[in-house]
């Protein structure tokens, strides 16, 4: 079966809601992950910074510990970046699956 431009265009336009739904699911998952992680870590860090200040640690120890707190919070942000990339990857692959399905259906054989 020859690929008709009109057929492909119509099929791809029809797939837009499906693609938007895939994007919504991925964005929702990402928002869930971030809301699960970030507020808890901010609260923990605030509690710990106050505790370090009150604990009577030697000055050099307290200074080093505060610096480590900052670095480990950066680690959380790096982790969230990796989680974001994971969600972006899932979204791109979901969209590619939709394109693949539409093209293959329009062609009548598995090109992609």
């Amino acid at each position: 079966m020859a690929l008709q431009l009109q057929t492909l265009e119509t099929s791809m336009l029809k797939a837009i809601p499906q693609a938007l739904n895939a994007a919504k699911v991925t964005a929702g998952d990402l928002a869930d992950q971030i809301s699960k992680v970030l507020p808890g870590e901010i609260k923990k860090m605030a509690v710990q910074l106050v505790a370090i200040e009150q604990a009577g640690f030697s000055q050099p120890l307290a200074t080093q510990l505060v610096a480590m707190q900052k670095e480990s919070f950066e680690d959380v942000l790096i982790g969230l970046f990796e989680i974001t990339l994971t969600a972006v990857q899932a979204l791109i692959n979901a969209l590619l699956d939709i394109v693949k399905g539409v093209v293959n259906t329009a062609l009548g054989f598995a090109l992609l």
Binding site: E41, V47, F57, L61, L65, D75, G79, F81, E82, N93
Partner: protein
Amino acid sequence: MHRFLKTAAILVALGISACSVQLVSPYNADLASSLTKLHEDVLKMASDVARNAANPATKANARVEAYAKTYDDWRARVDTMRILAEVANPGVINCADLMKRLGAGAQSDITAAEGATAEAPQADCQTYLISRLRVRIDQTERLHAAACATNNPNFSNDCLHGFGSARGVVRAGDDSNALLVQPLLRTIRALIWVQDAKKPKTSTSN
């Protein structure tokens, strides 16, 4: 940003021809369980140090020298985790470079001053984070050495309460306990969340 968009466009184009893209390494069950075990072991070690430090008869056992094997074991486990991460690294993202551009995660004063480096060429964010976890272990060991030295005049606050319950602190659950290991625990947690986000979703519908 322009370069990032260009890279994204190339990835999408490559993806269409390959039918899928891989920006991040997949979920790894071994890595996930190693991280959970490490988190548990750090908490156990902190309790053990605090217990030794609390008793004058065992106070000397709280010194870092008594835990040398523990720190070596953790480093060996993290190095193994790094190998697992490197094997699965798709090599698309250079996380250290990206973080520097974003102004976050750059080598800090403390890490730089210690001559340690968490950077790795073309490492994805998971591998980069594991490198930073190793630095966190080294830093914790140095804190331990300073806090629990038997000649530390502030031993009680630094060692006993640093690894146990901090004195004079408004209690806020476990978050304010074992303050000296909390940054290390946070980095481990960050990696646990990454694995959790990558874990394939199992369908709950019948």
